[in-house]
Structure formats: structure tokens, C-alpha cells
């Protein structure tokens, strides 16, 4: 039984992606899902410590008005032996600021292959699929996959009560250091 080549539709749409690294590992993320890119230091300057049982990948959070962002170590999330990254991707429509090591480049993908069904554990939540770029296969991460609803509930439960403004509250400025995308 011959293995057929994938069919190509007449009009290929492309999607802008950011290629980034955590340790040595290359990942891709849709650029439209990144709200801003900041130095991790600038973000964690206004961050507070948090410890939720079983969620080692989150050790800090940032309050932004009524919202709370959780700083997720990409290395811990993927089980990579790398230190926490120095860049933070604030992911749109999520409560995740993902810590990564570096941005490789921005490029476009025209094809996204679903993760093969053989991959049948957490990775089905981690990745939207796989793409081939320059004869290299890169996993395309799912922005919502870094924190599950259950994890968010546990993190919310571990949050300390908000400090009353005026009592040494460090208000995180949202107007510097960051690079707004889109």
C-alpha cells in the first residue's frame, strides 16, 4: 500500500509564527496569540511568589488591574532541563506569561499537521500540531495548553488576597520594556 503524499489545496493560507527556543529545543507559536514580549526581569519585577501544590512550573504571578498573569516556566512545563527563560511571552486571551530563552525568528507556515494519534498523553494539549520548516519538524504550541482549567483553579486558590493600594503596593507598569505584537 503506497503512502500517498499529502494533498495540496489550491490556495494555501499562511500563518505568521514565532520560532523560539527553550533550552536547545525549538518551538513555534502563532504570532497572533502573543500579546506582548517582555524581558522576564521587567515582568517579574512586579511579580509575587506563589506556590500551588503540584504546579511547580508556576512560581510567580503578576497582577494587572483585575487580571492575574501566571509566569509559566516553559522548561518545567515541557520537562526540559533548562533554567527559566529570560523572555516572557504574554499570551493573548490566556492568563499565561510563558518564560522562554530566545526568539529564533519570525516566519510563516503554510501547513499544520495534526499531532499524530500515537502521541496520546499531555502533548495532545500542549501542541496544536507539527509543521515542517526548512526540512525541520517543529511543534506548534497551543497557547491555552500551558495551564489547564484545573491548574488555574488551583493557582487562583493559592493566590494571596490583593494588597490594599497605598500600602507599599508595587503597581506593575504596563508601558515599558514590552514589545506589543499585533
Amino acid at each position: 500500500m503506497p503512502m500517498a503524499a499529502p494533498t495540496k489545496s489550491g490556495l494555501l493560507r499562511s500563518e505568521q509564527i514565532i520560532l523560539f527556543r527553550i533550552g536547545e529545543q525549538l518551538f513555534a507559536l502563532s504570532s497572533s496569540s502573543v500579546q506582548e514580549v517582555r524581558g522576564a526581569d521587567s515582568l517579574s519585577g512586579g511579580a509575587h511568589e506563589i506556590s500551588a501544590p503540584g504546579i511547580d512550573k508556576v512560581r510567580q504571578f503578576v497582577r494587572r488591574g483585575p487580571n492575574t498573569l501566571f509566569l509559566v516556566s516553559g522548561a518545567a512545563h515541557f520537562g526540559l532541563s533548562a533554567p527559566d527563560g529570560i523572555l516572557a511571552f504574554v499570551l493573548r486571551n490566556t492568563r499565561t506569561a510563558l518564560l522562554v530563552d530566545s526568539i529564533e525568528k519570525m516566519t510563516a507556515m503554510t501547513r499544520l499537521q495534526a499531532l499524530p494519534l500515537s502521541f496520546c498523553h499531555e502533548e495532545q494539549q500542549w501542541y496544536r500540531g507539527l509543521t515542517a520548516l526548512d526540512q525541520t519538524v517543529v511543534p506548534v504550541v497551543r497557547p491555552e495548553g500551558f495551564l489547564s482549567d484545573d491548574e488555574l483553579m488551583m493557582l487562583d486558590a493559592a493566590l494571596p488576597p490583593p494588597e490594599v493600594p497605598g500600602e507599599d503596593t508595587e503597581v506593575e507598569a504596563d508601558d515599558d520594556f514590552g514589545t506589543e505584537l499585533n
Binding site: M3, G54, S118, E122, D149
Partner: protein, 168 residues
């Protein structure tokens, strides 16, 4: 009067893992691929080593040697591309094998109840009795039990469509 015996010969691909030979149904195989670059990325599925890129498709590489001969194939390795069924759906998987494969015709003896689930049957060839593999039971899939120590997340999404065009 002549008594004829109906021998139903079927085609099988003989593959070698170390010193042992196994068979898979030829109809469920596509090709034998020379050693090629293996792409690895983080995941939690045991037996899956990574993926290879073949004819524009991304094919998962599944180690079956450890289960069948008790050790990982270090010197190899060709990839036998074979079909894996997931209910109504099918996908190609790449099986690392030692050296080249052989196409034969043989009669299949069905597996018995005492055989392991990955045994689809038996055939006799060249003086050897050879296991015919049931890849659906040998390779991981959505019905696989979670690995010990790896908590499964609640609210797991259903499998994605097999192919999806990029959507901005």
C-alpha cells in the same frame, strides 16, 4: 477423486529486530526507508522516539524492539512505514528495524486466546515459526493507559483532525 486442501496464502513483510524475525501483513505496509533524521520534541508517550519527515508527511517513530526482544535497537536502522488503526481512522507509523525486509507469501495460523494481544497470528517460513504482529496492540494510541506516575489532565480534548491547514 482428488482431495484439495485450500491453502490461503497471504503476503507478509518479514522484518528483523536484532536476531529475531517478525512479520506484518504486507497490505498494511508502505515502504522501507533508509535511516533518516529523527526529530525529537518533548512529549510523554512511551515508545515514541520522535518523528521523521517522509514524502512531505510527518510520521511518528515507534520503538517496538524493547517490547518484542527486550532491548532497544542501537545499531540499525531502517524504518518500515506501516499502517496503524485508531478505530475508524488510520495513520502511518515508522518502525525501526534492523536491516532490510523481505516480502513472502505464507499461510497464517490465527492467534490463540493464550497469545499476547500484539500477536495477530503465526506463520512458518524457512524452518522458523514467526510471530505476525498486530501493530494496533503494539504501538501507543488514545486507548493506552496513562503511564505510571504521569497524571493525566482532566478535560482532555478529543483528537484533532488528521490534517489541518494553517488558519491565521
Amino acid at each position: 477423486m482428488t482431495v484439495s486442501t485450500d491453502l490461503e496464502l497471504k503476503s507478509f513483510v518479514l522484518l528483523r529486530l536484532g536476531e529475531r524475525r517478525f512479520a506484518v501483513a504486507a497490505g498494511g505496509t508502505a515502504e522501507l526507508v533508509a535511516p533518516s533524521r529523527l526529530f525529537r520534541f518533548p512529549h510523554n508517550t512511551a515508545k515514541i522516539e520522535g518523528v521523521i519527515l517522509r514524502r512531505g508527511r510527518i510520521v511518528p517513530v515507534c520503538d517496538i524492539a524493547e517490547k518484542l526482544i527486550g532491548k532497544y535497537l542501537s545499531s540499525r536502522r531502517f524504518y518500515l512505514i506501516a499502517l496503524r488503526h485508531y478505530g475508524q481512522r488510520t495513520e502511518w507509523v515508522a518502525l525501526p528495524v534492523t536491516g532490510e525486509c523481505e516480502l513472502i507469501n505464507a499461510e497464517l495460523t490465527p492467534a490463540s486466546a493464550s497469545d499476547e494481544p500484539h500477536v495477530a497470528g503465526w506463520l512458518s517460513h524457512g524452518g522458523d515459526v514467526i510471530e505476525v504482529l498486530n501493530l494496533d496492540a503494539l504501538t501507543p494510541g488514545p486507548n493506552e493507559l496513562p503511564r505510571p506516575g504521569v497524571p493525566e489532565r482532566l478535560g482532555a480534548r478529543p483528537a484533532h483532525p488528521a490534517e489541518a491547514e494553517a488558519r491565521p
